[in-house]
């Protein structure tokens, strides 16, 4: 069931000013049905015209709230950053398929790059709830532009990579994965920029891997066919409906 409803902003704090924000929204129905990896389509103002797809970062089903972690890029996310506490916000969701959550034999590895870390917090939490151990590998460009790490530390060990080496290992998440023993891992999940996802496909034979993709969206509902990504069989699938989560082996990043 997809709802369109007006949530109420109950918090909207910068983690890094003008860059990364965490917004908490009271919206019981979406909170009730949301699964990890699903996203919202948010109307951020009169313009931009289109809603903006934003992942669900955290859900509190008891208090009926959802949180989003977002990066200010253009007008839409800038508008988001200007919402005040108590203001109503026009949401559609929960959308998309979400990550597979079940009890696995071995550990789960959650790999995020930049704002791609957003859906991994709720995922980690749900994986733990059903009895898994979770570990995180998170990549940022630098110490100053890294964020939300303390949230992930609540759930399990966190390894950090930064491009400039200012914290953790120097390089991308690949620099950590190179030396990582994947035999310990039942299931891996990845979300981040396309180069990272492309890199992750190189480990798809070593571990059962799910990737959350991004694509430019018109409707978020499966109607407009704009958000497609290429599958290995040459066909296209809709990121908003069959995705955003796909098995790594299904997808193709070839031109």
């Amino acid at each position: 069931m997809i709802y369109k409803c007006d949530g109420i902003v109950i918090d909207n704090e910068p983690l890094i000013k003008d860059f990364i924000y965490l917004m908490k929204i009271k919206e019981t129905k979406i909170a009730e049905y949301a699964k990890p990896g699903q996203f919202l389509e948010i109307k951020t103002g009169t313009l931009p015209l289109l809603r903006k797809p934003i992942s669900i970062f955290a859900v509190d089903k008891v208090e009926g709230t959802i949180s989003i972690l977002y990066q200010v890029k253009g007008q839409g996310t800038k508008n988001l950053s200007q919402f005040k506490i108590g203001q109503s916000i026009d949401l559609m969701g929960p959308l998309g398929n979400g990550f597979a959550v079940e009890k696995f034999n071995k550990k789960c590895l959650l790999i995020g790059g930049g704002i791609g870390v957003a859906p991994l917090y709720d995922l980690g939490l749900r994986l733990k709830e059903v009895g898994n151990e979770v570990e995180f590998i998170l990549g940022f460009s630098s110490k100053e532009t890294s964020y939300a790490i303390e949230y992930f530390k609540e759930l399990g060990p966190v390894k950090i990579a930064t491009i400039d080496g200012s914290v953790g290992v120097k390089g991308t998440v690949g620099a950590i994965l190179e030396d990582y023993d994947l035999t310990d891992i039942s299931k891996a999940y990845g979300c981040g920029p396309e180069p990272m996802l492309k890199y992750l496909k190189t480990i798809e034979d070593e571990v059962d891997l799910e990737l959350s993709l991004e694509a430019y969206m018109g409707c978020g509902l499966g109607a407009c066919l704009s958000c497609v990504c290429k599958m290995n069989d040459g066909d296209y699938k809709r990121v908003c409906k069959e995705g955003p989560v796909f098995k790594a082996k299904e997808v193709s990043f070839d031109e």
Partner: protein, 302 residues
């Protein structure tokens, strides 16, 4: 009789509010929001003779307050539509209007023939796609070709035939007259304007296909003008569309000469727009003491 009842030639809609092809899937995608039987009709996503995967992404971008798309008529083909989509769609309790595109005149005939089925309310003929045989001239810009397409579709179906006009022409009235004389029962208009958007960082077009169809609020003034011109030129009813977002927009189209309207890009912004417009029209009719909304069709011409 409801004051919103809408008679388009032999096509009867419970109200004049429909949803535009390509923006509403087959209806299924919007079922969670409201009872689809509230709608006057659904123009389903365009179908073609064979399955098409569509264009390489990026297929859509917001620009200048509107949207450019180049989906490339991605669909499972007409047979897939008939066997896998229509059976469910016809249970929605609203008119299912099937939007068709062919690569040559004969294909339009074949598709119309296949769609002469129970559950199909009308056929909407998209003539904005290029004609492969005639070297890429689109059916929608050449009045003779538009006439021929209309003729062949009419000859192959007992359903009302809606010819959908492209706005990318010098003289829309000539196109309208051509499809009228070909036997069209209804005209729907406008399809998208052709537009482009550039990523100045990458120095590349944003849409992978370079150009695409421009829709949404910015095209409304052009759409209204064309509805106005076509209303003067022909005697068949018009389904007006192009940037309709609310009841006032819908009223503008009705007053310009449309007998019904369609919400397109608006469905992406707020799926409830068609429902809000139905309510808005009901209120308008009451407030102004009209016996039927029809009283305002073409009002600016009087």
């Amino acid at each position: 009789m409801s004051k919103l009842e809408c008679q388009l030639g032999k096509l009867l809609l419970k109200n004049p509010v429909t949803v535009a092809s390509g923006t509403f899937g087959s209806g299924k995608e919007f079922k969670d929001f409201y009872d689809l039987s509230l709608l006057g009709g659904i123009m389903v996503k365009g179908t073609t003779p064979e399955k098409r995967v569509g264009n390489k992404p990026q297929r859509l971008v917001e620009t200048s307050g509107g949207v450019i798309n180049s989906i490339g008529l991605a669909n499972g083909g007409i047979d897939d539509f008939i066997f896998n989509i229509l059976p469910e769609a016809k249970t929605y309790g609203t008119e299912i209007i099937v939007n068709i595109s062919g690569g040559c005149i004969e294909e339009y005939g074949i598709m119309a023939h296949k769609l002469d089925l129970e559950g199909v309310g009308a056929v909407e003929v998209n003539i904005s796609c290029p004609n492969v045989k005639e070297g890429g001239i689109t059916f929608g810009t050449d009045p003779e070709m538009a006439y021929d397409v209309t003729k062949i579709v009419k000859a192959n179906t007992s359903k009302p035939v809606i010819m959908k006009l492209s706005p990318n022409v010098t003289n829309i009235a000539i196109m309208a007259k051509a499809v009228e004389s070909g036997g069209a029962d209804i005209i729907s208009m406008i399809n998208t304007l052709i537009g482009m958007s550039i990523d100045v960082e990458k120095r590349k077009p944003i849409i992978n296909n370079v150009i695409g169809g421009y829709s949404g609020p910015p095209i409304k003034p052009v759409a209204l003008r064309m509805v106005y011109e076509v209303y003067k030129a022909v005697n068949i009813p018009i389904i007006g569309m192009g940037g309709i977002m609310n009841t006032t927009d819908a009223l503008e189209f009705l007053m310009a000469g449309a007998s019904a309207i369609s919400v397109g890009t608006g469905n992406f912004v707020d799926p409830y727009i068609p429902i809000n417009i139905i309510k808005g029209l009901e209120e308008y009719v009451e407030k102004n003491g009209l016996l039927s909304y029809k009283e305002i069709i073409g009002a600016v011409h009087r």
